[in-house]
């Protein structure tokens, strides 16, 4: 099934996520990031941060569920069971830390067909409670052609 190209340029309503000390600790432990600034509030403050700091790829914790909502929209026409994650980028405009209440707006940047496969690029723009930009992520997913393609 061809993808719905009218998704390009659309954005989806913001989702709010509150970054917590324990979630940062849990994620940092899972990726082996053992520096105290990810685990210990006092160490983070001593290093000049308001609270523990998230590792670089932590934002996937909230950008992926926000993106998945769009991926799962049957109108887009992407079969998630055949999806492969092809590219990922994250750009931090400032360190993300515990206590941040962030909102994620998902946009579809590109939809195309490549060698029979569906290729979709999603962008997440993340802002803080003051509306200031915190980070941007982009993810390109490929829906591999099925037997009926």
């Amino acid at each position: 099934m061809p993808l719905d190209a009218s998704f390009v340029g659309r954005t989806w309503p913001a989702e709010t996520y509150e970054v917590s000390l324990e979630k940062i600790r849990e994620f940092a432990t899972a990726v082996g990031a053992d520096d105290p600034v990810h685990h210990d509030r006092e160490a983070a403050r001593a290093a000049g941060h308001p609270d523990v700091v998230a590792p670089t790829t932590f934002p996937v914790v909230f950008t992926w569920p926000a993106t998945k909502r769009v991926v799962d929209d049957p109108a887009l026409g992407l079969d998630f069971s055949r999806v492969v994650h092809r590219d990922q980028a994250v750009e931090l405009h400032r360190p993300l830390h515990a206590g941040d209440v962030v909102t994620t707006v998902v946009a579809v940047d590109d939809v195309r067909e490549l060698a029979g496969n569906d290729v979709v690029t999603f962008r997440c723009d993340v802002t803080d409670a003051d509306g200031a930009a915190v980070l941007t992520t982009t993810a390109t997913l490929v829906g591999r052609a099925g037997d009926d393609a």
């Binding site: 994620f27 899972a30 670089t56 994650h85 092809r86 990922q88 750009e91 982009t138």
Partner: protein, 139 residues
């Protein structure tokens, strides 16, 4: 001075090997919320044509970002990271796990000291990350 602060354009960075076990994947699945069964269930992985349970691409990317941050000597120095997931890392159901070798090369040093690092990640002698680039801001 950290290894990366001392590095000039064109310098190769000291490589590092990381090991990924099934337990690591389960822990990462829980921490990240990515519960896709291809990262922990052999049966589902085989059903979709994979040679076995594979690591989350985002897990390999997280390890690559940490590798660069460690070289920078500052856990908050990696302000951007982009990559392509070119091959899966198959993680066997044993106590040894899979091995991923990380390497890097400084490709640019900006006037403000920001380093651009080209990162490599190989598993079984083949690259698993493509066009991986880290932007490193040293304090």
């Amino acid at each position: 001075m950290s290894a990366l602060a001392d590095a000039a354009r064109g310098d190769a960075l000291e490589p590092r090997t990381a090991t990924i076990t099934r337990a690591d994947l389960v822990r990462y699945a829980g921490a990240s919320g990515d519960l896709n069964p291809i990262h922990w269930n052999e049966r589902v992985a085989a059903d979709v044509g994979l040679p076995g349970v594979i690591a989350h691409g985002m897990f390999t990317m997280a390890l690559a970002a940490r590798y660069v941050a460690d070289l920078a000597g500052d856990p908050t120095a990696v302000v951007a990271f982009s990559t392509r997931f070119t091959r899966p890392v198959v993680v066997p159901d044993d106590d040894t796990g899979a091995t991923v070798e990380f390497g890097g090369k400084v490709t640019d040093v900006a006037d403000d000291g920001t380093r651009t690092v080209s990162v490599t990640a190989t598993h079984d002698g083949r690259g698993v990350l493509g066009k991986a680039v880290a932007t490193v801001r040293l304090g």
